[in-house]
Amino acid sequence: MSAATGHLPRVADERDDRPAGPRPPGFVATVATVLRKELLLELRTLESVPGMALFAVTVFVVFHFALNRNGVNGDEAAGILWVTLLLAALLGINRLFVADAEDGGFDGYLLAPVSRGALLFAKALALLLYLVVLELVAVPAFALLLLEPSLGPALPDLPLILLLGDVGVALVGTLVAALAVQTRARDLLGPLLALPLLVPVVIGGARASAPLLVLAHASGPQPRWPIALGLYDLLFGLIAYAVFDFLLED
């Protein structure tokens, strides 16, 4: 946080002898400023992340009663983990732009002479951080409540796969949140748009983590699933960057 403060956009540089007024801040400075604002807002209001984590733990409890099982492993475990994380992520996605749309954050941002793509980047980074914090709570809770094999053997691979999935969820989530926030039925449209777009993430993530969560830990994930996740992240990163400017025009 203190490192980000150093990147605050400089308002005026007196030694700059160009006739124009203050120099507009660069891309990185803008991203750092918006990200700092997002995290500060979240730290002060605690609106998203605690709710997401609590929701995930509650869903594990619901799964226990719905399946009538004390422990799960393999495909089932991977499925429950990914579905729960996805549903919890949807809560964060729905809230991502609400404050900006309601309290004039978009107008303020558009008035500033900064890159519009930087907002996408900062929001996606903020959502990524939320998801990482969510998983720091939810995955140990999952291991404690439902998972039969111990989490130890899965450790080096599972966080990497989760992170690859998180990048995809953060990018798609930011794009969908920006699309849905200006509509009348934003709470309904966000999840409706996000879930089909995130099906490939669930396919890749669940298939990659299933062999890590079996009782007799035998093998790591097939390499094609992490590769597919990485390609998905790359493609949606490009798409989101290409179309995002059009969402922020008025």
């Binding site: 699309l179 748009l193 879930l195 059009f246």
Partner: protein, 265 residues
């Protein structure tokens, strides 16, 4: 279907106030006759060609293509299911491309074309799901099989595109509506091939596929399939043109009615 369709019509009409006004002005200059509808041109020959091609395709399906050894008569649904799937996929991607043109030109007509392409493709996707389901029931005994990647990816794509109209008509400002719909169309259009690859990856090696590609089809079957695809593509074009014509006529009617109300009788 009916309420959403009527809502779609209203939204579609609302989004081009400028064009309606232009048409009204145009009509004034030409002695109360509205400007000719540009989408009508070529509609009759196109409709005839579509009817001919569909007749030819169906004739080939029933009288030219041989009976498939294992599935017999049931396999004929292949000549409807696969062309529907191909045309719907291409239509969704086309909707995305037209949306790119809209974002570059900001001409509302391109937005309308993108909307119509996605609308008709959505109907074709429903057809794909229904015919695929019937085929699955006939050959595997279940209405739904998860081992058929085309069917599964179509379900996901259908669920995604089913939110296109709710998204569109939940935005009131016409310009923003067109812009957001274009962003959706581009994202979803790029998602179509990506989703197809992902679902194919997930179902590969589970079940032997009946027809993995057209390469192992005998010549007469491949020719029938090709003619069916062309006929289906013509049907798609004709339906799009009809919807565009209807929408344009509705704008003209609205403009005329507005003029009638403005002028004291």
């Amino acid at each position: 279907m009916t309420p959403s369709a009527s809502r779609a019509d209203r939204g579609g009409a609302d989004q081009i106030p400028g064009q309606a006004r232009k048409t009204a002005l145009h009509a004034q200059g030409r002695h109360d006759r509205p400007a000719p509808n540009p989408y009508v041109r070529g509609l009759r020959p196109l409709s005839l060609a579509t009817a001919l091609a569909m007749t030819l395709a169906l004739g080939m399906v029933f009288f030219y293509a041989p009976l498939e050894a294992e599935q017999g008569f049931l396999q004929k649904i292949f000549y409807v299911h696969v062309p529907l799937a191909i045309v719907a996929l291409c239509g969704f991607v086309l909707g995305g491309l037209l949306a790119i043109v809209y974002l570059r030109t900001r001409d509302p007509r391109w937005d309308m074309r993108s909307y119509v392409a996605i609308h008709i493709s959505l109907i074709f996707a429903v057809g794909t799901l229904i015919t695929g389901s019937i085929w699955a029931k006939g050959s595997w005994g279940h209405w739904w099989v998860w081992s058929e990647p085309t069917l599964v990816s179509f379900l996901i794509i259908f669920l995604l595109y089913a939110t296109y109209q709710p998204l569109r008509f939940a935005i009131e400002d016409p310009e923003r509506q067109a812009r957001y719909a274009a962003v959706f169309a581009i994202t979803a259009g790029a998602f179509v091939p990506m989703n197809y690859v992902a679902v194919n990856l997930s179902t590969a090696y589970v079940h032997p596929r009946v027809f993995s590609s057209t390469s192992n089809l005998p010549g007469s079957m491949a020719l029938t399939l090709l003619v069916s695809v062309v006929a289906m593509a013509l049907l798609f074009t004709t339906l799009c043109k009809y919807e565009l014509t209807a929408k344009h006529t509705r704008f003209q009617l609205r403009a005329l009615r507005r003029r009638l109300l403005e002028e004291p009788a």
